[in-house]
């Protein structure tokens, strides 16, 4: 399982990377905003995307929309991990086709639950 972690803060990327490793996902890659992430996603065979929302350059929500608009990436599971906590934002992310939404600060348990749930849904579909 190849996972891309997108966040502008390197410490947050490291935290998510370590939590994912603890959950058994050790093949993780990093990008610091949507503009860097999109070409990586297009050229690499990623199985999962974890992205922040508020980033310089390309925002996470725009990355999500770009992923859903790309024929090859349209079905990529996307988990948003962000400090953005307005109801309108969560609704917008849902409408844009996000698979999971975690608000920061979050726990290792929450991350595990959301990832498990995303896989359950994908396997059930």
């Amino acid at each position: 399982m190849k996972i891309l972690i997108v966040d502008d803060f390197s410490t947050m990327r490291r935290i998510i990377k370590n939590l994912l490793r603890d959950l058994g996902f050790s093949n993780t890659h990093e990008a610091d905003d949507g503009a860097t992430a999109l070409p990586m996603l297009k050229s690499g065979d990623f199985d999962f995307l974890v992205t922040d929302w508020n980033m310089p350059g390309m925002q996470g929500i725009d990355l999500l929309k770009a992923v859903r608009a790309d024929a090859k990436l349209a079905n990529l599971p996307v988990l948003m991990v962000t400090a953005e906590s307005k109801r309108d934002q969560i609704v917008e992310a849902a409408q844009a086709g996000v698979n999971g939404y975690i608000v920061k600060p979050f726990t290792a348990q929450t991350l595990k639950e959301k990832i498990d749930k995303i896989w359950e849904r994908i396997e059930a579909a």
């Binding site: 390197s10 370590n18 953005e84 969560i90 609704v91 849902a94 975690i102």
Partner: protein, 245 residues
């Protein structure tokens, strides 16, 4: 007496004299008096305007001096900016230091747990008399290696934990810096309020924030700003499930 330096009373006295002279028909004296009164009045008006200009100037000057606006704009706000950048730098360093210690310690803990598990199973076999002499020799060599490894690794782990502990020293320092910046922000706020008061509330009404409803706002701070914010992950989950997630 020079008309330019005449006081109000002197002008009044000359004016009364002027009326008397006119009644008497002394046109020449009357003309001189009229001239005097006219010049004096004009000067009084100028003096009045001058006084008001001076007062206004003094008010603005004293405002500048009292409020330290120059110093705030030239030094303290750039200083505050630098201080806050330093806070980011310190918290970043601390997070990196902590993460490095954790990243080094985690695999050690995992290795110890795995090795202890394996040894435990073999030990159980030994207790059940299921081991050959050769296997027992192997076990005792493994135990010896395990103990040496633990001694070395636990010392590294202890150092790493100590490092995590020491990396928290930023909290005290950043706390002090942020407190200073809060004091500065309060002072600037006070000065802005005073400025608005001096200019007689002639500012336009605050413009409503027209930013799109879903533009990123960063972390929600309890008790500050935006409405319609979820309180925690449970709220997010409820909202999403109401949308059919």
């Amino acid at each position: 007496m020079e008309p330019a330096k005449a006081t109000e009373e002197e002008v009044l006295a000359r004016a009364e004299e002027l009326i008397k002279e006119m009644q008497k028909g002394n046109e020449q004296t009357a003309a001189q008096l009229l001239d005097y009164v006219h010049t004096a009045k004009e000067n009084l008006l100028f003096q009045e305007v001058g006084k008001m200009t001076r007062q206004l100037h003094d008010a603005l000057e004293s405002f500048r001096r009292d409020s330290r606006i120059d110093s705030l704009a030239e030094h303290e706000i750039p200083d505050a900016r630098q201080r806050l950048s330093y806070v980011i730098e310190m918290t970043q360093k601390s997070a990196d230091r902590t993460l490095s210690a954790v990243e080094e310690t985690m695999p050690m803990a995992e290795k110890i747990s795995e090795q202890a598990g394996n040894l435990g199973q073999t030990w159980k076999k030994f207790r059940n008399r299921e081991l050959s002499v050769e296997q027992f020799r192997e076990l005792s060599a493994d135990i010896e290696t395990f103990l040496t490894d633990i001694e070395r690794d636990s010392s590294i782990m202890k150092n790493n934990l100590n490092d995590v502990l020491m990396a928290q020293d930023f909290q005290d320092l950043t706390g002090q810096i942020i407190k200073r910046v809060i004091t500065l922000v309060e002072e600037v706020e006070g000065n802005l309020v005073e400025l608005i008061r001096l200019t007689g509330d002639r500012f336009a009404k605050p413009v409503e924030d027209n930013e799109a409803d879903t533009a990123p706002e960063g972390p929600h701070v309890p008790g500050v700003g935006v409405k319609d914010v979820v309180a925690n992950q449970d709220d997010v989950d409820d909202l999403l499930s109401s949308l059919g997630f």
